[in-house]
């Protein structure tokens, strides 16, 4: 069995799976899709009331939550769509141009 963790962009064809089959769940976690981003949300922790409105609206599950508090963005999966900024009732999220949070 070939596992996703053993495959990368240097793996020769002989060691890949037929048809690109993936033999385990949840492998999107390991795959960096944040590089597609052209706009980036910035999290201002001091302004956040942890109302959690942004979390279910995020189409990419890129807002991690721990112990009832939202954490900073998961930039490995955030596509920069800006929905979170739009739904945030507080000035806790602002969008900046470009793929990197500055």
């Amino acid at each position: 069995m070939i596992y996703a963790k053993d495959i990368n962009e240097h793996t020769p064809w002989q060691d890949l799976t037929p048809g690109g089959e993936i033999y385990e769940p949840g492998t999107a976690r390991a795959f960096d899709t944040g590089t597609w981003r052209t706009n980036t949300p910035v999290f201002h922790a001091q302004a956040c009331k942890h109302c959690m409105l942004c979390v279910p609206f995020c189409p990419d599950s890129a807002i991690p939550v721990k112990d009832g508090k939202r954490l900073d963005f998961d930039y490995m999966h955030c596509k920069g769509c800006g929905i979170c900024e739009n739904v945030c009732p507080f000035p806790a999220i602002t969008m900046v141009t470009g793929g990197v949070a500055r």
Partner: protein
């Protein structure tokens, strides 16, 4: 046991003996009878196949893909525009490496719309990654269908198989054929036990994920290796099949080729007509022969080059146009295969029999007459011509 069956009946009967898990069923002339006969087997409880009636061939192939990915054996049957409507899914089936079995009853692909036999439907799908095996007659249609699963399901191959026969000429003509006992068929094809499948609960599987550029090329190489591996497997399965049936199959059939100087290369039911013409020519001392291509994908290039190496002139007969303006698809493959020979025969291409246009023994004799003339004079004349059309010009 011997029986009188049409080509469609023979394939439906093979399906009954196989008892597949799922059939994606949608009718289209001339393949309609296959799902029709099979529906009766389902209704009579002779098979326990999940018979899924769908709204199009796009869906019948989608059903097959989903079922096969789930770990089931899936079959379907189609023709012409039905195959064209499956086009996208044919590529999905092959690239997901799902060994689905499809009966393709060859019919002209529109337009103008026409329901009769030629190979333009399956030739359009020749680059989809499917194994393509063509039958000359009802017996071969039956035999090829039974051999399809042991070929496609082999782990080193894992590719779908298109088992083709000529519409009406083969699908609707009734012939005496030899059927195997159902037990023998079941034993021959065995159980389908893929290593991984969607319903294997202890091992979740994702099939057909998006493939980014850093991986796509590698997966295509894997697929190319699989179809290369299919060639040896096809011969292995043919040898095993001969043990239970007494009938021998190769990648192609050589008919009176031992000392042939003039030869035809063609596919399908026209082989019967050509054999009759060749027998007659042989009586008159013409060293005529035939190579009937059985397996078109993978193409038996090296083997075909060896078979034609000692001929002087060859006519490749395409029962589909191709519109390359440079000859039909079988011609392109054959001419490419012969390139590596040190001494090559003269090679011409004749496109014939489109949309059910009849071909008679006299037509085949005319082709051999042209080949004899080429071999004698070394004057090849026009390389790519059509035969059987009304014309103001007189071309054999």
């Amino acid at each position: 046991m011997s029986n009188r069956l049409s080509g469609n009946e023979a394939v439906a009967y093979a399906m009954k003996q196989i008892n597949p898990d799922v059939m994606g069923a949608f009718p289209i002339t001339p393949s309609t009878e296959i799902p029709e006969y099979f529906a009766q087997f389902v209704a009579d409880g002779e098979v326990n196949t999940e018979y899924v009636t769908v709204e199009s061939e796009h869906s019948s192939m989608s059903v097959c893909i989903a079922a096969q990915a789930a770990g089931a054996r899936a079959v379907s049957a189609t023709s012409s525009c039905g195959l064209a409507l499956m086009y996208e899914l044919l590529y999905v089936a092959a690239s997901c490496r799902l060994p689905i079995t499809l009966a393709c009853v060859n019919r002209a692909l529109s337009g103008p719309i026409n329901i009769n036999a030629d190979h333009s439907d399956s030739m359009g799908a020749r680059d989809s990654g499917w194994i393509q095996i063509y039958a000359e007659n009802n017996q071969e249609a039956y035999d090829n269908f039974i051999m399809a699963m042991p070929i496609g399901e082999t782990p080193s191959v894992r590719l779908p198989v298109m088992s083709c026969m000529d519409g009406f000429i083969t699908s609707h003509a009734v012939e005496n054929i030899e059927l195997l006992a159902t037990d023998a068929v079941r034993k021959f094809i065995g159980e389908y036990n893929p290593e991984n499948y969607l319903l294997k609960k202890e091992n979740p599987l994702a099939v057909g994920p998006y493939d980014v550029s850093p991986y796509y090329m590698e997966h295509k190489v894997l697929e190319a290796e699989a179809i290369k591996a299919a060639k040896a497997r096809i011969l292995e399965v043919a040898a095993e099949f001969e043990m239970i049936s007494g009938r021998s199959y190769g990648l192609f059939e050589e008919y009176r080729m031992e000392d042939a100087e003039l030869a035809l290369v063609l596919i399908g039911s026209t082989a019967g007509t050509a054999k009759a013409a060749i027998d007659k020519l042989r009586e008159n001392g013409v060293k005529a022969g035939l190579v009937k291509i059985r397996v078109f994908r993978p193409f038996p290039g090296e083997e075909l080059a060896r078979a034609l190496a000692n001929t002087r002139a060859v006519a490749v007969m395409d029962k589909s146009e191709g519109f390359s303006a440079n000859g039909g698809p079988l011609f392109a493959e054959t001419r490419s295969a012969l390139y590596d020979l040190k001494e090559r025969p003269y090679l011409i291409n004749i496109v014939y029999g489109l949309g059910g246009r009849d071909v008679k023994t006299e037509d085949v004799e005319k082709v051999f007459c042209r080949l004899a003339n080429i071999a004698e004079t070394g004057e090849i004349g026009p390389i790519y011509t059509h035969m059987g059309q009304r014309s103001k010009e007189d071309i054999a």
